[in-house]
Symmetry: C2
Subunit: 196 residues, 2 copies
DNA sequence: TTTACATACATACAGTTTGTATGTTAAAAT
DNA sequence: ATTTTAACATACAAACTGTATGTATGTAAA
């Protein structure tokens, strides 16, 4: 019953894919491992062979989603002509990405609670948050931003966007208004406050 | 074994107090109801008599903490002379309150995950967030702020502060730097971007 | 080419925890 | 004085995670 590398990797990816669906749909706590492996035509034995435990599986899913969003942000930001436009584009891309296919629950709700805030932060820094920080640092060095703590700025902005994502996603379910644009306008003005 | 109103209320408050400790210390998922009631010299029967379930107990704890912080914010904000100073004072008070005795875990980490974001928001609006919104609205009417979506502003600022709390709390555990001041400076500049 | 071993699972079970159903006792209400 | 109800305790069912163990199969070395 031993499979080759490729088949094994497919098994793992398939579990992640199914788990991702269950986590987004029911949330971490309500997602039963039994249901996940059943859908993959496996048993929990297989799951515990490939992942350390439920948290380990969630971590794999979390990283997948975060990487996806992170890549989208980088790609969009790169389209900007100057650093300011890059920053704004990156922010918009983050909002879009995090809202897509209800990623918010994994990324922003269960993420911190399941992984713990410190682990969550480390993951976040690896992907989305770090690129924001670097961008801000660059802009400060270019003399575009006021000489205040980059780290504090990064966290405040990141927090503002995270909450914006949750708010927008909630509103999109109800109304059709251009709530996304409202958020971006506010973000732009907030960022304006950091301009020199 | 029937007790009078006062004794019953004491029992409930005692459970909440002990549960609050367990939730902050171990987090919602790892806090066992059995341990909580044991410390209160009760059994789970008593707990399920007074609260609907584990989530219901958490909700009670959550509301207690949020109310505490909310009151602190209101009190501090009231000390300000003009609306701008009130806003800043309120923000600072929120950071202080949320950091105090590791309230962040209940308020910002487990809160959304356990209650769900919509319930969390409703609670949040009832206390801290609403006062922020009203203050911003007032200031906009006074012509102090730019004419952009108050709701978007409120959520972005609230998010910025929430994340700031987590960041500050994390940093306070390691360094002794005046990281709180850094956060407030950034917040002031961000708010500055909303000024007319 | 056999033998040893690792890998990819399945199966069965133990442990923990939530929630519920059912007492029991004592104070309030009638 | 009797009935009712509130404040618990006790016992139990159900769900779920995690672990220990078994098994088949591919791979690599002797």
């Amino acid at each position: 019953m031993k499979k080759n590398k490729i088949e094994t990797e497919q098994t793992i990816q398939n579990i992640i894919k199914i788990a991702r669906y269950h986590f987004t749909e029911h949330g971490y706590a309500e997602a039963a491992l039994e249901d996940i492996v059943k859908e993959a035509n496996l048993t929990r034995g297989a799951l515990y062979h490939h992942f350390q435990n439920k948290k380990g599986l969630f971590l794999a899913v979390f990283e997948t989603v975060q990487q996806e969003v992170g890549e989208h942000v980088e790609a969009e930001a790169a389209k900007g002509n100057d650093s300011w436009e890059q920053l704004i584009r990156g922010c918009r891309a983050f909002l879009e990405g995090a809202i897509q296919s209800h990623n918010q629950r994994i990324l922003l709700i269960d993420g911190p609670a399941v992984l713990g805030w410190d682990t969550f932060r480390k993951m976040d820094e690896k992907y989305s948050m770090n690129s924001l920080k670097e961008q801000l640092q660059l802009m400060q060095e270019q003399g575009l931003l006021k000489p205040i703590s980059i780290e504090a700025m990064t966290h405040c902005l990141s927090g503002a966007m995270n909450e914006a994502v949750l708010w927008i996603a909630d509103r999109l379910d109800q109304e059709d208004e251009d709530v996304m644009e409202d958020a971006i306008i506010v973000l732009e003005h907030l960022l304006g406050g950091l301009k020199k």
